[in-house]
């Protein structure tokens, strides 16, 4: 069965420090992968999505970047965090062969920039 792993669960980082959040998917190949951010408890904002290795589409200009070095690995990074980068970060994936399952989300990373 397909599963999605996202870590760490919580993270407290100082302003100006780097960031690396990792997401991996098991049990499928060539999934669409997504990074979302949720601030203030509501309203998920799509940050990046990827349809294949090395293919990244950015939805909003920001202090973050994403990479997909392997088929089932999606990484969210920042060279220097800002206070405004705080939020709940969610990774999601979708495979085209499961018509009724929609998108599957990871458990999320709660990032606090101090």
């Amino acid at each position: 069965s397909q599963t999605i792993h996202q870590w760490p669960a919580t993270l407290v980082q100082p302003v100006g420090s780097p960031l690396s959040l990792e997401c991996t998917v098991e049990g499928t190949s060539n999934p669409n992968l997504y990074w979302y951010r949720q601030a203030a408890g509501r309203g998920l904002q799509l940050l990046f999505y990827s349809v294949g290795i090395g293919q990244i589409s950015s939805e909003v200009p920001q202090n973050l970047s994403a990479s997909r070095p392997q088929d089932r690995q999606f990484i969210l990074s920042s060279k220097k965090l800002l206070l405004s980068d705080s939020g709940f970060y969610l990774c999601a994936w979708r495979a085209g062969d499961r018509e009724s399952d929609g998108y599957t989300f990871g458990s999320g990373t709660r990032l606090t920039v101090v």
Binding site: P31, N32, Y34, Y36, G41, R42, G43, L44, Q45, L46, Y49, V51, S57, E59, F88, L90, A92, R94, A95, G96, E99, S100, D101, G102, Y103, T104, F105, G106, S107, G108, R110
Partner: protein, 113 residues
């Protein structure tokens, strides 16, 4: 991408049926309608998906009129554990069409005893 509009919040009591309506006037021919549920500090969870008419699963029903400009999520006999934010999304189903989900603000459902 079709924009969705849904109520910000709703209140209900245990055992009642809850209907949450979502408007999506600019839905495209190849768009599907999907509903997600999100509990605090968790990722959204898929509830139900449909294209037209009515879809039912063990959790909910989804009603879509012929013009597809709106949809209604129906939760039968809600319990306290159904308190969550519910998102209505519209987007292409097949991944080779792009398939990026755009979330609105959602509806915060509060179920009271």
């Amino acid at each position: 991408l079709a924009k969705t509009t849904q109520p910000i919040s709703m209140d209900s009591y245990e055992g009642q049926e809850v209907n949450i309506t979502c408007s999506h006037n600019n839905i495209a021919t190849n768009d599907y309608i999907t509903w997600y549920q999100q509990f605090p500090s968790q990722g959204p969870r898929f509830i139900i998906q449909g294209y037209k008419t009515k879809v039912t699963n063990e959790v909910a029903s989804l009603f879509i009129p012929a013009d597809r400009k709106s949809s209604t999520l129906s939760l039968p006999r809600v319990s306290l554990s159904d308190t969550a934010v519910y998102y209505c999304l519209v987007g292409p189903y097949f991944y080779n069409q792009g398939g990026k989900l755009i979330f609105g603000q959602g509806t915060e459902l509060s179920v009271k005893p």
